[in-house]
C-alpha cells in the first residue's frame, strides 16, 4: 500500500507512543504485559499478544533493535511454554488456553477470572506473527518460531466447542463453560479462524457455520452492513488478517467482504455521531468512536434541558442503540484507519485540535467524555486516567497496516491463518495465489 501524504497527522509518533506502552508495561523477567497503566494492574494475555505484534512493528520501524524485540518475545513465549497448565484454579492455563488475567509476577491466574478463548486467540495471533517475522537462522529467532508453533498446536480447540457447535468463550475451574450468549458478528472471527487452522486439534467446520448463522445483515442509515455495535468488533480480527477481497459464504451471499464491512461500520459510527440522538457534547462529523472501554463510572447527572444522563464504567459502548454515555475512544478511531482513511484522518485532526487532552505523552487516550461534569468547575469533561494495552495495540498495528500492510503481508503466509480461512469457506482474492 502506498503511503499517502500525512502532514500534520504524525502517525509514526502515535505508533511510537503506543509502542512505549508495551515497553513500559512488560515484566522483563517473564514477558507478561500489564492490562493497563494503573498501579498494580495484572497481566492481560490479550495485551501480551498485541505487545508481541507491536514488538515486530517496532523492530521493523526501527523503534526497537531487532535483537531486543526477539529477546522480549522469547521471554514471553518461554513463560507460556513453561507455566503450569491444568485444572488447578491458580494455573496459568488449561488445554493450551490461558486465563484472561495473570499475576504480573507469578504468571498465575488472578481476579478469579475465566479461561478466555478470545484472549487466548489474540495472544496466539501475536505469537504466530512473531514466528513469521523472526525468520533468521539465529538461535533466538529459531526458538521463537518453534515456540510459536508449539503454543498454537497445544491448544485443544474442539474442547472449547464441547457444548457446541459454537465455541464457548470462557471456562472456570469448578463452574465449567460459561454462557455468555455470544450471538452475532464479533471479534471471535479471529478465534474461529485460528481454531479451524489448527494442524493438531482443528475445530469442525460446522462450528463456523453455526456462528455465522447468528449474523444480522442490516440496512441502517442507508448503509448495508453486517451489524455489530462496538467499533472494536470491526477491527480486532483485521489487525492480523487481510480481509480485502476474500469472501466466506455469508459475504459471497451479500457481495461484500469483511474489510468493506468495517469501512461501512466506520461510516455508520460517523452517521450516528452526526445525528447525535442523545445530545452529547462534541459529537459530529469528525468526532465519533464508540467502543468497549472505560467511562466516568456508573452514576447519573442532570444535564441541560432537564435530561437525566446515565454514565457507565467499563462497558461495550456501541451504535446506534448504545449504551452511549458520551464517552469516545480516540484509539478506536485510529484503528479504523485502514478501512476509511478519508473519515478517520479528519477525525484524528479534529480530536487533536479540539481535545488536545486526548493525547498525552503516553499515547492516545483510551477514552474521554466531554459531556461528563467532573464537578471541579475548571476541567472539561472526563478523561480516562490510564492507558490500556488492548487500545494501544491496535494503534500501533492498524496504523502500520494502513501505512505499509506489513502485518497483513506477514500473516498471508501464515499456514494457520490461510488454512483457517480456507476451512471457514473463504475464497478468492489473495487466497487464490497463496501457496500455503
Amino acid at each position: 500500500m502506498s503511503e499517502p501524504p500525512r502532514r500534520g497527522d504524525d502517525l509514526e509518533k502515535l505508533q511510537q507512543d503506543a509502542v512505549w506502552y508495551f515497553l513500559r508495561a512488560a515484566n522483563a523477567s517473564n514477558g507478561l504485559i500489564a492490562d493497563s497503566s494503573r498501579e498494580g494492574a495484572p497481566c492481560s494475555i490479550a495485551a501480551t499478544g498485541l505487545g508481541l505484534a507491536a514488538y515486530i512493528v517496532a523492530a521493523e520501524r526501527g523503534f526497537l533493535p531487532r535483537r531486543e524485540a526477539a529477546q522480549r518475545t522469547l521471554t514471553a513465549l518461554r513463560f507460556f511454554r513453561d507455566s503450569p497448565q491444568g485444572e488447578d484454579p491458580d494455573a496459568t492455563g488449561h488445554r493450551g488456553f490461558y486465563y484472561h488475567f495473570l499475576d504480573m509476577k507469578t504468571g498465575r491466574r488472578t481476579w478469579q477470572c475465566e479461561l478466555s478463548m478470545i484472549d487466548t486467540a489474540i495472544l496466539i495471533a501475536g505469537a504466530l506473527s512473531s514466528g513469521r517475522y523472526f525468520s533468521a537462522a539465529a538461535d533466538d529467532e529459531r526458538e521463537i518460531r518453534e515456540l510459536a508453533g508449539f503454543l498454537y498446536q497445544r491448544i485443544d480447540w474442539p474442547w472449547a466447542a464441547a457444548d457446541g457447535p459454537e465455541l464457548s468463550m470462557g471456562w472456570k475451574p469448578g463452574a465449567g463453560f460459561l454462557s455468555y450468549g455470544w450471538e452475532g458478528y464479533s471479534e471471535a472471527m479471529l478465534l474461529y479462524i485460528l481454531g479451524l487452522g489448527s494442524p493438531t486439534y482443528p475445530l469442525p467446520t460446522e462450528s463456523y457455520g453455526a456462528w455465522t448463522g447468528t449474523y444480522q445483515w442490516e440496512n441502517l442509515y442507508d448503509i448495508d452492513f453486517l451489524f455489530a455495535a462496538p467499533l472494536f468488533v470491526h477491527q480486532l480480527s483485521h489487525v492480523w488478517i487481510d480481509f480485502r477481497g476474500i469472501q466466506d459464504a455469508f459475504m459471497r451471499e451479500k457481495r461484500s467482504d469483511y474489510f468493506e464491512n468495517s469501512r461501512r461500520a466506520t461510516a455508520v459510527q460517523q452517521q450516528y455521531a452526526l445525528r447525535n440522538p442523545m445530545w452529547f457534547t462534541g459529537y459530529g462529523e469528525h468526532c465519533w468512536g464508540l467502543t468497549a472501554g472505560l467511562g466516568p463510572g456508573f452514576t447519573k447527572q442532570r444535564a441541560e434541558g432537564g435530561i437525566e444522563r446515565q454514565f457507565y464504567g467499563y462497558v461495550a459502548r456501541g451504535v446506534p442503540f448504545g449504551p452511549d454515555d458520551g464517552t469516545l475512544a480516540p484509539w478506536a478511531v485510529v484503528a479504523s484507519l485502514p478501512f476509511a482513511p478519508e473519515i478517520v484522518l479528519p477525525a484524528l485532526r479534529h480530536v487533536r485540535d479540539a481535545y488536545p487532552e486526548a493525547l498525552s505523552e503516553n499515547g492516545l487516550l483510551t477514552s474521554f467524555n466531554p459531556t461528563f461534569d467532573p464537578g471541579d468547575g475548571g476541567r472539561r469533561g472526563w478523561r480516562a486516567p490510564e492507558h490500556y494495552g488492548l487500545d494501544q495495540g491496535p494503534v500501533v498495528l492498524m496504523i502500520e497496516n494502513y501505512r505499509s500492510g506489513f502485518l497483513w503481508r506477514l500473516m498471508r503466509e501464515c499456514p494457520a491463518i490461510v488454512t483457517g480461512l480456507r476451512r471457514a469457506g473463504f475464497r478468492k482474492g489473495w487466497l487464490r495465489s497463496s501457496h500455503r
Binding site: 469448578g174 447468528t214 442490516e218 440496512n219 440522538p277 442523545m278 442503540f321
Partner: protein
C-alpha cells in the same frame, strides 16, 4: 405444596375490599347455582380463562348449546393474575417515572414524590374489578351459556362430570390454562414466595424484592416494583433477558432496568433461601461464586406448568404431559378427535391473544368441520416493559436456519420526529425481509409503544403486503408508527441501483 400452587386457594388470598368483592361477585359469585344440565351439549368447555370464554361466547352466539366449567375464577390468568393487573400496575409505575423526568418538560426539579404503592395497587384492583364485568358468570349466563362452577373431570370419551352433574358432549375443549412453575430451590417453599397469582394481593410495598427469572413477567414486574419504590434485584440464569428476543432488544432492556436502579444479575442461579432475623437470605451463584442478598419478598417467574391434573384426561383418550400440557395436532385436536384444546394448556406461546386466536380456530374446527391450522397464524407478542419489546414472525436465526437470505431494515426511534418530540427516542424498528424481495418475514420493535406499532406489521404480513407497499401507505405525521414507513422508504432506496440512478440523472439533466 406452596399455597400459591393451589388454584382453589386463589380467591381466598384476595384482599377483602370492595373492589375485590366486585371481582368475586363477577368471576365467582357466592351462592351460584349450577344449572340443570342439558341432555347433550354441542360443546363443553373446561376452563373459563380467555380461551374458554372466547370459545363459549363464540359458540353460543352461533347457536350452539354450550357448557362452561370453571373451578376457580372466571377470567383466568389474564383478568385475575396476569395481563390486566400487571398492566394497570405498569401504568402507575410509568407515571412515577414520567414524574421523575418532569424537569425535561418543566425545567425545574420535581417536588419529591415518593410513589404511593398502596394507591397503585388499589387502582389496579379497582380497574380489574371494573373490567371483570365482561367475564362475569352472569354475562355468560345471559349469552345462553350454562356456567358450572366446580371441579370438572372426564368420565369417559363423551362425558364430563362436575359437582355431581354429568355433561354429555358432542365436542369438548380443554382450556384449563397454566400456573406458575415452582423452581426446585432449596428452602424456597419453606420461607415462602410470591408468584403472579399472589403478588397482586400485596397492599404494602416490600422494601426489598428479589425477582427470579428474566422472562416477560420477571422483567415487567421488576421494573414496575422498582419504579414504585422497591429496591429490586433481578436474577436470571441466562446471559440475557427475554432469551427468545433479539440481542439488541435484550441489551436495551437490561440497560433500561439498570437505569431504573434495579440490580441486574445475569448468568446467575439461585442456590438456596433461608429465613433469618425476619428477612429472606438468598444465596446467588454466578461463575461459581456465591453471594448472599437479603430481601423481604421473592417473586418467582420461571415459567408455567400446565393444569392437566384432576381432569381424568386418560379416560377421555387425551394425550398430555406435565411439562408441555395437552398434545394437539395442527387443528388443535387431541388424540380423541372429539376433544380439542386451546390456550396456554396446549400452546408453546402462552399469550392471551393466542388463547383468543386458538379459541376461534376451535369454534370453526369443532362445530363446522373447519380446517383452520395453528401453524398458519401470524402471531405478534409484546413484553410491556419501558420500552416495550414487540415481535412478530420469524427471528433472524430462524430465517437463517430455514435458509432465507435475509436483510433487516433498521430505523432507530431517534430518527422519528414524533419520538423525539415525545422524548421517547429509545428503541428501534427492525423489519426482516427476504433479501431481494420486499416480503416481510418478521419484525422486532423496541419503543415506548411497540405493542401498538407491531400490529401494523402483523397486518401487512397477514395481508401479504410487502415493504414497498408499506412505504406507499400515508402515515399521519408526526406519529411514532412513521418509523415503519421509514423502513419501507429505506427499502425503496435500495431498489434505486446505480444504473437507475444514472438513468434518472441523465433524464433530469436532459429535461432541464
Amino acid at each position: 405444596m406452596n399455597a400459591a400452587d393451589r388454584p382453589e386457594s386463589r380467591a381466598a388470598l384476595l384482599p377483602n375490599d370492595a373492589y375485590d368483592a366486585t371481582l368475586l361477585a363477577n368471576t365467582r359469585p357466592a351462592g351460584w347455582q349450577n344449572p340443570q344440565p342439558a341432555p347433550s351439549y354441542n360443546l363443553v368447555v373446561l376452563g373459563a380463562g380467555t380461551a374458554g370464554l372466547v370459545t363459549a361466547a363464540g359458540a353460543a352466539a352461533l347457536g350452539a348449546k354450550v357448557a362452561l366449567v370453571e373451578k376457580n375464577l372466571l377470567g383466568g390468568d389474564c383478568l385475575n393474575f396476569g395481563c390486566v393487573p400487571s398492566k394497570a400496575l405498569l401504568r402507575a409505575a410509568r407515571f412515577y417515572t414520567d414524574l421523575h423526568h418532569a424537569p425535561r418538560f418543566t425545567g425545574s426539579a420535581p417536588a419529591p414524590s415518593e410513589a404511593n404503592f398502596a394507591a397503585a395497587m388499589e387502582r389496579m384492583r379497582r380497574l380489574r374489578a371494573h373490567i371483570s364485568h365482561h367475564d362475569s358468570a352472569q354475562r355468560f349466563q345471559a349469552l345462553g351459556v350454562d356456567v358450572f362452577l366446580g371441579d370438572a373431570a372426564f368420565a369417559d370419551r363423551r362425558t364430563v362430570e362436575v359437582a355431581g352433574a354429568t355433561l354429555t358432549f358432542k365436542k369438548a375443549v380443554v382450556a384449563t390454562g397454566t400456573r406458575a412453575a415452582r423452581p426446585p430451590i432449596e428452602g424456597l417453599a419453606e420461607v415462602g414466595y410470591l408468584t403472579n397469582e399472589t403478588i397482586f394481593n400485596l397492599t404494602e410495598r416490600p422494601r426489598r424484592l428479589l425477582v427470579i427469572g428474566g422472562g416477560p413477567l420477571g422483567c415487567e414486574l421488576a421494573q414496575a416494583f422498582a419504579r414504585l419504590g422497591c429496591e429490586v434485584i433481578i436474577a436470571n440464569r441466562e446471559p440475557y433477558f427475554l432469551p427468545d428476543e433479539e440481542r439488541d432488544a435484550a441489551e436495551i432492556l437490561a440497560d433500561a432496568l439498570r437505569r431504573d436502579g434495579i440490580e441486574v444479575r445475569l448468568n446467575t442461579e439461585v442456590k438456596r433461601v433461608t429465613q433469618r432475623d425476619g428477612e429472606k437470605r438468598v444465596c446467588l451463584v454466578n461463575d461459581n461464586q456465591d453471594t448472599t442478598v437479603a430481601v423481604d419478598e421473592i417473586l418467582v417467574g420461571v415459567g408455567r406448568v400446565p393444569n392437566v391434573e384432576g381432569l381424568n384426561l386418560d379416560a377421555a383418550g387425551v394425550d398430555y404431559d406435565h411439562e408441555h400440557g395437552v398434545r394437539v395436532n395442527d387443528y388443535l385436536q387431541t388424540r380423541n378427535r372429539r376433544i380439542y384444546a386451546a390456550g396456554d394448556v396446549a400452546l408453546e406461546r402462552k399469550y392471551t391473544h393466542m388463547a383468543d386466536a386458538t379459541a376461534r380456530i376451535v369454534i370453526q374446527n369443532a362445530l363446522f368441520w373447519g380446517r383452520k391450522k395453528l401453524s398458519s397464524l401470524t402471531i405478534p407478542w409484546c413484553t410491556y416493559t419501558d420500552p416495550e419489546i414487540a415481535h412478530v414472525g420469524l427471528y433472524v436465526k430462524e430465517c437463517r436456519e430455514q435458509g432465507f437470505p435475509l436483510k433487516t431494515f433498521t430505523v432507530p426511534m431517534s430518527d422519528v420526529d414524533r419520538a423525539v418530540l415525545d422524548g421517547e427516542e429509545e428503541g428501534f424498528v427492525k423489519i426482516h425481509v427476504h433479501e431481494g424481495t420486499d416480503t416481510i418475514l418478521g419484525a422486532t420493535i423496541v419503543a415506548r409503544h411497540a405493542g401498538e406499532m407491531i400490529n401494523e406489521i402483523s397486518l401487512a404480513m397477514v395481508a401479504g403486503i410487502g415493504l414497498k407497499t408499506v412505504s406507499q401507505v400515508i402515515h399521519s405525521y408526526p406519529t411514532q408508527a412513521e418509523a415503519i414507513r421509514k423502513a419501507g422508504d429505506a427499502y425503496n432506496r435500495t431498489r434505486l441501483s446505480p444504473f437507475l440512478k444514472a438513468l434518472s440523472r441523465r433524464w433530469l439533466a436532459w429535461s432541464r
